[in-house]
Structures are given as structure tokens and as C-alpha cells.
Amino acid sequence: MGTVKKITEKTLQVNAIENGTVLDHIPADQLFKVIQILGLDKECKNQITFGTNLESKKLGRKAIIKIADRVFKPKEINKIALVAPDAKINIIKDFKVIEKKVISIPKEIVGIAKCMNPACITNHQPVPTRFTTSYENKHLKLLCHYCEKTTDGENLQL
């Protein structure tokens, strides 16, 4: 009974797509940041469905995003590592998963995150931010190329 219920729930929660990309294992509270990073909130005509606060053994509560008829370049998709380092990417064709990818954290992040140092030039002048990343013990750290201060993943603002 339990299994049946779970499966039906899963299929009902977020509609399947014929072709496109499914982003799974996004921490529930990071859903809208992922949407923002991928620019899905602007100039995007693709059909997008998403669900959040779904059960996940790994994350507690997760979110899932399905984007029809779109495959992201690694450079684009790796940006979401800032907020969803454990995300899984499934490429869908004819309702089937044809490729699975994992996120790798880019060495350099340009123009997405905000430097948390209020005296940083990037917070006062139209300068795109630039960080080099390090990832230790599940902690993401961003070293600002300009002010040379570190922004912790926990304090990240986009």
C-alpha cells in the first residue's frame, strides 16, 4: 500500500516532460535561487514545471524543476553549484532519461553572487563580481577577486 501510494504521488507531483531537462535534488529552500541563476525567471519561453517541499531521504525536503525542450551547457548548469551542489541533472528524450549528469563546482564564478564585504568596490560601482571557489568539508567559500575577502556559502546572496 505504502509503495503504491508513493509511486502515484511521485508521478502526480510533477508532470513528466517529453524532451528537456530535469533538475532533481535541489534543496527546497534554494529552488527560487536556482531559477534565478539559470535565468528561468526572465526571457524563457520554455514550459517549466516545478515542485518543492517533496520528500527526500538525502535532503529532507527537496525541489525539482523540469524544463521542456532545453538542454543546458555545463558552463550554465554548473553555476547552480553555488546553492545546490548535490543537484542531479537528467536529460530527457521521448519521456526517457538518456543522460545523467552531476554538478561540478566551477573554479571561478562571474557575475552571479554578491560579495558580502560592504566596502567592496563591486557593491558600489557597476563591476561584475568575480570569485574563485573552494569547497572543503561541504563548505563553499568564495574568494573575491577584488577585495580579497571571503564570502561563505551560508551568507551567499545573488
Binding site: N117, A119, C120, I121, T122, H124, Q125, P126, V127, C144, H145, Y146, C147, E148, K149, T150
Partner: protein, 301 residues
């Protein structure tokens, strides 16, 4: 992009040693004229008379002419011109830009939009690499070399950018460090981690007398009242980190006292007349080192 000096880490060990050699050459002979066809901009988006005069004198001693401003009042900057536009415009006129700016990272950004070399003369609390180079020059001048120094840093080790850069620069020369500071102003963890990763020994103390007799370089810094959340705490610690002549009885003969100046009472006047005081000579060295850096970045040395 031409070579700039924004942060001390922009120079290799070899480049640092080269600059120090050239500075030594200029100290012996101050009249150098080989940049007589060059124009240098000194852009001070925040006033600093001491640093500006040092750079302007250095430029003049090399024969170059200087343009610029000493604060942003009555400039297009005060009308809201972006840093990028100012730097692009000035780049058209000059061969090198010296800039000081209150915002951190401003100099790095300027070096990316400029078509000429940029020297960072201080960007907020971030970097002030020519100060570091002059500190190194002074250490070499007083000790004859840079290797195996026991450097005792005293005072505000938390916010003092000069001590942080000096740690980075001296890390090439197998030093050991003593950090003498009140609990509120201790050396930040990231610099201690840096030293650990380089296997450079350091100890921490709140007692100025504890290691003073083993010290080769006593690097004093300003302890500013505004750094303390509790003014009572400042009153308590300020006397503990004040150096007087009577404390110097057991010091090593070669020990020298450095201070980036201006001081606000961390070193009492009676220290000035001891053979250990070196902070005034240190300040004077700034000109030779800045001459050497300008000459190097313009490819003339």
C-alpha cells in the same frame, strides 16, 4: 594588460628582491632622470598627504611629471563619474597611474580597465603593497638580509593591513613571528592558517615584555580607540601596548623598531633617541622603494 602592483602577491620573490636592489641603487644616487619623457597620474580618491607626497617626490626624482588630484572634491568623480570612466580617460594621457581609493578592490578593478600600469597606494582596508615593500627594504637595511628574522608584531593585528601583507611577503624568507595583541585585536585565523600551511612558526601573547628580548624586528602598529566596542577596554589595553625606553634594556643589539606611522602614542618619545628606533628612517625609505617600483613597472629597470 600591463603589469601592475595591486597586492603584494602580484610580485614573485625574485621581483621583490629585484625591487629592493634597485631601491638600494636609488638610495645611493637620488638623482635619476631617465623617466623625463613620462607623465604619471596620482589619483587620490581619498586624501593621504604622506603617501601622495612620497609618490610625487619619487616620480619627480625619476624625472617624470605628475598630474592628478589629492581628493575628489571639485572633480568629475564628485559629479558621479564611475571609476571605470575616470581610469579610461586618465589612461589616455599618462604612462602610469598611482591611485588611492576608499573602497576595497578599487585598484584591482582599475588595473583591469586601464591601458597603463596601476600602482595601488591603498584601497580601503585591503592592500597597500608599497608600504610592504618599504617595510622589507627597511628590514634588509637594518639587518643586512631578510632570512630567519624573528618578527614581533604589536598592537592592532586584526585590522592592520600592513601586518597582513608583511606576513605574506616575509613568508619567502623563513621567518618566525610573535603576535602581541589584546584579545579584541588578535591576528585573524586565516593568516595563522597561512603560516601553518607554510610551516612558519608563530606564537601569540598579550604581554609585550614576553618575547621582546628575542626580537629582531619589533613592528609596532596603531591601536585605535574606534576599534573597541567597549571604550573601557581600550583604556585598559592602551597602556599594555605602549613601548617605552625602559622596556628596551635587555633587547638584542641588532633589534630595530618599525612603525608604519603616524603613531598615536604606542611609542613614547623617549624611545626616539634610543639606537633601536628606526621608524623615521623607515618612512624615508618609501621614496626609494616607490622610485624602484615605478621604474620597474615602466620597464626602465
Amino acid at each position: 594588460m600591463p603589469k601592475s602592483l595591486i597586492s603584494i602577491s602580484d610580485f614573485t620573490k625574485e621581483e621583490m628582491l629585484h625591487i629592493l636592489d634597485v631601491a638600494g641603487e636609488f638610495e645611493k644616487n637620488k638623482s635619476q632622470n631617465f623617466l623625463h619623457d613620462k607623465v604619471i597620474a596620482c589619483l587620490f580618491f581619498e586624501p593621504s598627504t604622506r603617501t601622495r607626497l612620497s609618490f610625487e617626490t619619487a616620480s619627480n626624482r625619476l624625472g617624470a611629471r605628475v598630474i592628478g588630484f589629492s581628493d575628489v572634491a571639485n572633480t568629475s568623480v564628485s559629479k558621479g563619474e564611475t571609476l571605470k570612466d575616470t581610469i579610461k580617460m586618465v589612461s589616455n594621457y599618462v604612462d602610469l597611474i598611482v591611485m588611492r581609493h576608499p573602497l576595497e578592490g578599487a585598484a584591482r578593478y582599475a588595473s583591469e580597465v586601464a591601458s597603463v600600469p596601476v600602482i595601488n597606494a591603498g584601497d580601503g582596508a585591503n592592500q597597500h603593497p608599497t608600504q610592504t615593500m618599504l617595510d622589507m627594504y627597511t628590514i634588509k637595511q637594518t639587518q643586512g638580509h631578510l632570512e630567519n628574522m624573528n618578527i614581533n608584531m604589536v598592537g592592532d593585528l586584526k585590522y592592520g593591513r600592513t601586518v597582513h601583507s608583511l606576513i605574506q611577503a616575509m613568508s619567502y624568507f623563513s621567518p618566525s613571528f610573535v603576535f602581541t595583541a589584546p584579545p579584541e585585536l588578535k591576528m585573524p585565523q586565516e593568516y595563522k592558517d597561512f603560516l601553518t600551511s607554510k610551516k612558519i612558526p608563530f606564537t601569540e601573547t598579550e604581554d609585550l615584555m614576553e618575547h621582546i628580548n628575542d626580537t629582531d624586528i619589533l613592528y609596532m602598529t596603531r591601536v585605535q580607540q574606534e576599534r573597541f566596542t567597549d571604550p573601557m577596554e581600550y583604556e585598559k589595553v592602551k597602556n599594555c601596548f605602549r613601548l617605552t625606553a625602559s622596556m628596551l634594556g635587555g633587547c638584542k643589539k641588532n633589534m630595530k623598531i618599525l612603525h608604519p606611522l603616524p603613531r598615536v602614542g604606542e611609542i613614547t618619545q623617549d624611545v626616539d633617541d634610543t639606537p633601536f628606533a628606526y621608524y623615521f628612517r623607515q618612512a624615508g625609505n618609501g621614496m626609494f622603494v616607490r622610485m624602484a617600483i615605478i621604474a620597474y613597472l615602466l620597464g626602465a629597470r
